[in-house]
């Protein structure tokens, strides 16, 4: 067995331990080296992965761990995401959180978990990786300083997360009990052998797996935890929750449904269609009523999950491309939006939508970046959101879900309304206090990078689309 193929995971684990270890010896005023070390480590693993793994199609441990372009693409995506989250955490952690060593260390463990999720070719490996991700996130969510809201967020997230894990595990045991295997390719073969109609016991297992994963990505009706957790968690963690954990779960969902449960397509498609319709509608309608910017972004990300789920429901190579592209585009956009919230919160300690009044005067750059993020989330041209939504919606329509695409477009219009309300606050409403916003050069740089990313994906998605097509080919030839 070629253990070199495992090098990115080993190295990343070493980086996480290095961050935890170095933290012990650093004096308090030198803790700034920790994020630098994390970023260097993440970029190193990124280069290593791309150099060694591109184009390989093999597996380790008898199919437990898959090395293909799909897992490599998500590895690279998660590493870049990790770098951005670390960068956006720097100022926030310095100002609002104690114990940075454990913060960055656990953050890197969670990135490792996401990489494992995208690469696992077997249900138990996927489950334990998901659990590593969940545990890391439980800790990160509870990181906030004292107060009712952080504690509520932490406790709620841990309890509901454990409940979701139990559902998922029950589903896995049901599938294993009926089909006698947990490997994706063998499940595929066993389902083909059984033929239609699907054994109800397997179907129950499948439904439980969908429910368990649905909890993790906040699909309506399993979304109740999301707004409270998003509001109470430290904002960089909220951004990470909204982008990272969702991307990882969708990577797993894409692989699971295409490589394992594809023969039962007719049985699960209808479930996903209903969930998608519910999710996008409820998410966007409730978002309109929110006063807190983090809650609003939480509901809007629930809406985005609805679109992604629609793509999975129309599963085909085209739809898979659309889902992955939207994950990347929406991820970058959401990070940009949350970065603006972080910058604003660092300067003012406020996060209500009403507080954004007059931001255009107080800091034109942040207001512009926030507007770009909101317009991209709504799906307007020149921004990432338009391109990715266009791909995703076309693919879903191509898969025969025309009415659902209609609903998705209606929802996008609804979302435009509440995004516009935030922009109205920033540009039309005068501020109570007109002091310029104190934004560090470093934060401006991070904002600029994210903004550039969102615009580049919007106007020149070609190379990204090529990479995504290569990734999809690995799971849906």
């Amino acid at each position: 067995m070629n253990y070199l193929l495992f090098a990115p995971e080993f190295t990343l684990t070493a980086v996480a331990f290095a961050v935890l270890g170095v933290d012990l010896f650093l004096p308090r005023d030198k803790k700034g080296y920790l994020p630098a070390l994390s970023v260097v480590g993440l970029i190193g693993v990124f280069v290593l992965s791309l150099r060694y793994l591109w184009g390989r199609d093999t597996d380790l441990y008898d199919g437990l761990f898959l090395i293909d372009n799909f897992s490599l693409f998500f590895k690279a995506f998660f590493l870049v995401l990790g770098v951005m989250v670390v960068l956006s955490s720097v100022d926030y952690v310095k100002k609002h959180l104690s114990r940075p060593g454990e913060y960055y260390g656990i953050l890197i463990f969670s990135i490792l978990a996401m990489m494992l999720m995208a690469a696992s070719g077997e249900l138990l490996t996927a489950y334990i990786s998901l659990e590593l991700l969940s545990f890391s996130l439980y800790v990160l969510v509870s990181y906030g300083r004292h107060g009712l809201k952080p504690s509520e967020a932490g406790v709620k997230y841990i309890l509901l997360g454990a409940f979701a894990s139990a559902l998922l595990l029950y589903g896995i045991s049901q599938v294993y009990g009926m089909l006698g295997t947990t490997r994706f390719d063998e499940i595929h073969a066993a389902l083909l052998l059984e033929g239609t109609p699907l054994n109800p016991a397997v179907l129950v297992g499948l439904v439980l797996i969908i429910a368990g994963l649905g909890f993790k990505v906040a699909v309506v009706p399993f979304h109740m935890w999301a707004p409270d957790v998003y509001e109470g968690a430290p904002t960089p963690v909220t951004a990470y929750l909204a982008v990272g954990s969702k991307a990882a779960a969708f990577a797993l969902i894409l692989r699971l449904f295409s490589q394992a449960f594809m023969p039962a397509f007719d049985d699960w498609q209808i479930i996903l269609v209903i969930l998608a319709a519910l999710t996008m509608t409820v998410g966007n309608l409730v978002a309109m009523a929110q006063q807190n910017i983090k809650r609003m972004l939480a509901y809007s990300s629930i809406g985005q999950v609805g679109y992604l789920l629609m793509g999975v429901a129309a599963l085909s190579p085209l739809a898979s491309n659309g889902v992955i592209l939207h994950l990347v585009g929406y991820g970058g956009t959401n990070l940009l939006a949350f970065m603006c919230v972080i910058v604003f919160y660092n300067a003012t300690n406020k996060e209500e939508i009403a507080d954004f009044a007059g931001l255009a005067d107080r800091s034109p750059f942040v207001a512009m970046a926030m507007s770009a993020a909101l317009l991209s989330l709504a799906g307007l041209p020149f921004f990432a959101g338009f391109t990715t939504k266009f791909y995703l919606f076309t693919a879903a329509a191509d898969g025969g879900l025309l009415w659902l695409v209609g609903l998705a477009i209606t929802n996008s219009l609804i979302s435009l309304y509440y995004y516009m309300m935030v922009m109205k606050q920033m540009y039309m409403v005068p501020a109570d206090d007109n002091t310029p916003l104190n934004v560090s050069m470093f934060s401006c740089g991070v904002l600029g990078m994210l903004l550039a990313g969102v615009i580049i994906i919007g106007v020149y998605p070609g190379p990204l689309v090529n990479a995504i097509q290569a990734a999809t080919k690995a799971i849906l030839p």
């Binding site: 494992l116 990181y143 109800p200």
Partner: protein
């Protein structure tokens, strides 16, 4: 009815009875002890399925370690505050949901009953070698999960104290 089926129903009753007791009991200490009963029932089920290693681990870890820790936690926190545990007003809903889930699962299992197979015991050596070769990834990841949980517990618990 074969003997193993009788034993199965007995053990099932022990598990279920213990679990119901955990939820219904008003005294936290009683709940913790009833949890032990339920977990021992599960260990018995493992034995019935010829999974000796699992049964052993279940007794050692759940029966020994976990229950003891729960009891310690109860003793070290102020029990007076927990004595009069109130029911969540949503409990009837929870009962309905649990029953509906049970009916659904039972119906699915009866309709799609798996074919009968004879179960063979897996030797300790076999289990150990497959755990460290083919299943090495999940096994190692589990150790990372424990590590993160450990660090996380310290971070969260120390949040209140001084730096």
């Amino acid at each position: 009815m074969s003997l193993s089926l009788v034993v199965f129903y007995l053990l099932g009753a022990v598990c279920l009875g213990g679990a119901v007791g955990v939820v219904v009991s008003r005294n936290v200490v009683h709940s913790a002890l009833l949890l032990l009963v339920s977990l021992m029932g599960v260990a018995g089920l493992y034995l019935l399925l010829l999974a000796e290693f699992l049964a052993l681990v279940q007794v050692l870890i759940y029966g020994g370690a976990i229950t003891i820790i729960v009891l310690f936690v109860i003793m070290l926190t102020r029990v007076q505050e927990f004595r009069a545990m109130k029911d969540n007003p949503q409990w009837p809903l929870a009962v309905v949901a649990a029953l509906a889930m049970f009916v659904l699962l039972a119906a699915a299992m009866i309709k799609g009953a798996p074919s009968e197979t004879t179960r063979q015991s897996v030797s300790f050596e076999e289990l150990g070698s497959s755990l460290f070769t083919q299943w090495a990834v999940p096994f190692e990841v589990a150790s990372l999960v424990l590590l993160v949980a450990l660090i996380g517990a310290i971070v969260i618990a120390r949040e209140g104290g001084e730096e």
